[in-house]
């Protein structure tokens, strides 16, 4: 069984063919990730099967119990009685340093460990859940009234700030760059960009001259609106990301275009809804084609092969 023989010699497994199948399975997984789900599943199955066989083969030497030396054959019943100090003992003699244990002490040990583990689980699970789960539950915010349609002059960006979570106070003040694109058909069209940089979340600034600020207080909440003359895109002060007027990245480290707000017109008022992510925008103004994705964090790709790194997004 031990071909290398002797103690202290390296205990290497015998050569085996299984890793070849394992490698083919891994390759299928990678190809399947790009091409098709069927190849992916086949690859996963191959990997699992050959991985199991490989592990089984590699650990066969460890799992096999060394065979006991041949026991003395039982003496024939007719043979004369053997002396007490010869033959097999009725119970195995305890080795040196070995403790003889009664079954009930083993039961007690198992009970203590089991109960202790159960109590630990009962105490830890809610605490851990309380630490981790609340950030994923009841996220999002109500619709925000940022003003009447007439407050937003056509084809000018208006820097609008508002409280996204009024009960949290000023820490929840957010900025959106809102441009009235006029009418698309008979519905008003707006471009509403979030100021959260798509690189690492710093506040992007508008490249343009600010005009007179106007403030409006509704339900005790202050909304500030500052129109901008001749905006020339947006820039981030932290790491130099640059965007054009549609939010497309033009330079620097951002991985996609600026996020946008969903909007709704309610009785002539502009209401901001949820934010969503945008990979890029084709065209400009009301006719632009926006490639939308569910909201992703800054620095996370939403399209292309890198998007595979972020397959699941937390609930928003």
């Amino acid at each position: 069984m031990d071909q290398h023989g002797g103690q202290g010699s390296p205990h290497e497994p015998t050569p085996t063919i299984w890793p070849v199948g394992f490698a083919i399975g891994i390759a299928c997984i990678f190809v399947g990730l790009i091409i098709s789900k069927i190849v992916l599943v086949v690859g996963a199955v191959l990997t699992a099967i050959f991985g199991f066989l490989w592990i089984r083969d590699a650990t066969s030497g460890l799992r096999t119990v060394p065979t006991q030396p041949e026991e003395e054959p039982e003496p024939a019943p007719s043979a004369p009685a053997i002396p007490a100090h010869k033959g097999r003992p009725a119970m195995p003699e305890p080795g040196e340093g070995e403790i003889v244990r009664f079954p009930r002490s083993k039961l007690l040990e198992a009970t203590t460990l089991g109960l202790g583990g159960l109590i630990g689980l009962v105490v830890t699970a809610p605490v851990l859940g309380f630490t981790i789960l609340p950030p994923f539950i009841k996220q999002g915010h109500p619709e925000i009234d940022v003003g009447a349609i007439d407050d937003f002059p056509e084809n000018k960006f208006v820097t609008t700030t508002f409280l996204i979570n009024p009960e949290q106070g000023e820490v929840s003040r957010r900025t959106a760059y809102i441009r009235n694109n006029g009418l698309l058909g008979d519905a008003p069209s707006f471009t509403i960009l979030s100021n959260r940089c798509a690189h690492l979340g710093c506040p992007v600034q508008i490249n343009g001259l600010p005009l007179k600020k106007s403030s409006e207080t509704r339900d005790g909440l202050v909304v500030d609106r500052t129109p901008t003359a001749a905006a020339a895109g947006f820039g981030c002060p932290c790491h130099g990301g640059q965007y054009d007027n549609e939010g497309n990245r033009t330079a620097g480290p951002p991985v996609r275009a600026l996020d946008r707000y969903e909007f709704r017109i309610d009785d002539g008022r502009l209401m901001l809804g949820k934010t969503f992510s945008v990979s890029e925008v084709d065209g400009t103004g009301a006719d632009a084609k926006i490639h939308t994705y569910p909201l992703a964090g800054p620095g996370q790709h939403v399209d292309g092969i890198e998007a595979w790194l972020y397959p699941v997004q937390p609930p928003r």
Partner: protein
């Protein structure tokens, strides 16, 4: 005094030492501390070997000043900045304690790096001390996390945006990144929960973990001993060259009385 009333000095000393005797008899703690302080080390260790205790001292300074700052700091978005301003400008010596905590944070990290470099260059991470290197590396990582979580607490623009960038950096990690970011922030955006969360991690969770790891680190140092420099003539396990140097009296040597009492 001593000549006129012989034995008086001994009596006074015995009175002074009585509490220590009382403690030693019931706990053995005095002997344990002496074992720790007066254990044998190689004869040719140098100032480089003091970087570890220097790091420990820096950590103790952080712990003490941090506890005191926590008495005045308010981890709430509406009062955090104001409470920091109060500590710095109004309270007596508040600027000093906050400055010690703020600059001491960098000192702690720098000393740990120097200590790490000494251990690396002396080969003191090799068998049987690998585990102690791992424990030390964990302490370094946790020290840096302390820096990250503590940076938000002043709640000014620098703190806020540095944390936005720092958390978003971690949120770009593959697969678990977006979830890690939400857990760190306590939600999708930085808000009141984030500040309280960072405060708890900064002053309860991480210091507790670091203290536990320091205890393990020191236990391993005492158990495995200190390493000579690589150029030492006293090779590991070899005989000491010549007679040991005569014991110096003073702060760093055991007093004869202490030796007798043991």
């Amino acid at each position: 005094m001593a000549k006129r009333k012989p034995g008086r000095k001994d009596q006074m000393l015995a009175l002074l030492l009585y509490p220590l005797d009382w403690l030693e008899e019931r706990s053995g703690l005095v002997g344990g501390v002496k074992y720790f302080l007066f254990r044998k080390v190689p004869g040719d260790i140098s100032w480089g070997h003091t970087l570890g205790s220097a790091s420990l001292t820096a950590f103790i300074v952080q712990a003490v000043t941090g506890v005191i700052l926590a008495m005045y700091y308010k981890p709430d978005p509406n009062s955090a900045y104001e409470s920091i301003r109060n500590i710095t400008d109004d309270l007596w010596a508040g600027w000093l304690v906050r400055g010690m905590h703020r600059w001491g944070a960098s000192v702690f990290i720098i000393l740990m790096f120097l200590h790490m470099g000494r251990v690396f260059l002396y080969g003191a991470y090799k068998f049987p001390r690998e585990l102690n290197w791992i424990v030390g590396a964990l302490i370094l990582v946790m020290g840096m996390m302390e820096g990250f979580f503590g940076y938000l607490l002043p709640w000014d623009q620098t703190a806020y945006w540095a944390t936005v960038v720092g958390v978003n950096l971690q949120a770009t990690g593959p697969f678990v990144g977006p979830f890690l970011g939400d857990i760190l922030r306590g939600g999708a955006e930085i808000g009141p929960d984030t500040l309280a969360r960072f405060y708890s991690l900064h002053m309860l969770v991480l210091p507790g973990a670091i203290i536990g790891l320091i205890v393990l680190h020191l236990y391993l140092v005492v158990r495995l001993g200190v390493v000579s420099p690589p150029w030492s003539p006293e090779a590991a396990g070899g005989e000491r060259l010549g007679p040991p140097p005569p014991p110096r009296s003073g702060l760093v040597a055991p007093s004869p009385r202490g030796a007798r009492r043991r």
